[in-house]
């Protein structure tokens, strides 16, 4: 069977996350449904990771083993025709049979967008979290510095029963402001469940002045979820890119 790599863009608003679940709409479920129609049989899509309910992706990567008499471009066009408006295949290509979207992923970029301006983000409203007051990005950048490198991120893990290692490496955190929009972009070798959202929730607390940048090492060292800030709303988060 051939192995196809798909790059997928989706607006997660309407979905119960990436991962297939019975009786509810999920991204993987929608994609497998259309792939099943294409192959006239059941297919299993392997995603690079799972995104939470309401989280978006510019370029999720997945692979699928299947036999179908179509070129990758025809597969892309077929899928885009039958997928709903809020899911698109931006690229389909045939790859080595050994390519595995999850195991081969080296690093990922996530971007979180929030808005603290005086108006409302009318056109971006599904993709940003509206904050209650303005945030100071200088303080947030100072706090983010402590996150860079290899650390145990257990304090920022949403799964309290996580048995595997909670050590991850963050290569960079870039915090930028454009008018009322503040973006926090994270590049790391992997992220724990809810990790980006908890990191953002914590950085926003620093931005508000409720936490100090200097408290970050202490929060991290505690390995205690209770010490970190709240989980920022899903709608502000977008999986931007996956490196292989």
């Amino acid at each position: 069977m051939k192995n196809y790599r798909l790059t997928i863009s989706y607006d997660g608003t309407r979905y119960h996350g990436w991962e297939y679940k019975k009786n509810v709409d999920t991204i993987q479920g929608k994609l497998e449904q259309v792939l099943g129609r294409l192959c006239d049989g059941e297919v299993k899509l392997i995603g690079a990771g799972r995104t939470d309910a309401g989280v978006h992706a510019q370029a999720m990567v997945a692979n699928v083993h299947m036999d179908v008499e179509k070129t990758p471009e025809q597969i892309r066009d077929y899928m885009n025709r039958y997928l709903p408006d809020d899911i698109a295949i931006t690229e389909a290509k045939e790859v080595s049979p050994r390519f595995h979207a999850r195991y081969n992923a080296i690093s990922k970029i996530y971007c979180y967008t929030c808005y603290d301006g005086p108006a409302k983000p009318v056109f971006q409203r599904r993709y940003v979290a509206v904050l209650e007051k303005t945030i100071d990005i200088k303080r947030m950048r100072a706090a983010a510095e402590y996150l860079i490198g290899e650390h145990d991120f257990k304090s920022f893990c949403g799964n309290s029963k996580m048995k595997k290692s909670t050590v991850r490496t963050i290569y960079s955190v870039e915090i930028e402001r454009k008018g009322g929009y503040v973006t926090m972009q994270f590049h790391g070798n992997g992220f724990l469940q809810n990790m980006v959202r908890i990191l953002c929730g914590t950085l926003i607390e620093v931005g508000y002045g409720r936490l100090k940048a200097e408290q970050m090492p202490e929060i991290m060292a505690s390995l205690d979820r209770q010490m970190a800030g709240p989980t920022a709303p899903a709608q502000g988060l977008c999986l931007v890119e996956i490196y292989y």
Copy 2:
């Protein structure tokens, strides 16, 4: 009474256009409802113009005469709190009693966005028109050249019973491509009903190769709506700016 100038941003998807109509949702209707609550009485909002059902605005301008014991910032914040998510006041300020949003408008900028790429515009899907095939913007730019200047745009007017002058001046038409997204930006001293959408529908026909750029003068001179292209879908159109 004081005169306030409001700058309004809206996603027109859910609305039956700008202008107040009984029993249906309109932008003016929603705004007057919140202003009425603010003033505890009826108020009449004067918009710079009307946008069709489904058309968006980054910066519509309107003015309203009212007496209220609030600063312009407080008016803005009050309105943003009570307006739905898809309408926002980006600025409120007190202006001269003589300021009239429609009569004083000197020129307007509209931007039309379409998509002709191989994927689908997932995040922009409410704000772009998806085309059936790719368009050639060089041909479209050549056609747009003929539109510049003062002309009778009757061929591009959606109101067949228009009794007033159909002469307008277009200062510039800028056509740009970014990946699969093509934008057409029009700056003019005023636009007839559906004029921008008919101009875009015609330019898209040129982009497809179904019309030639050189046919534009003939279409314009005919003063016949039937000679021009179709009215492009409302969702791609956005009122960008109004100059006073």
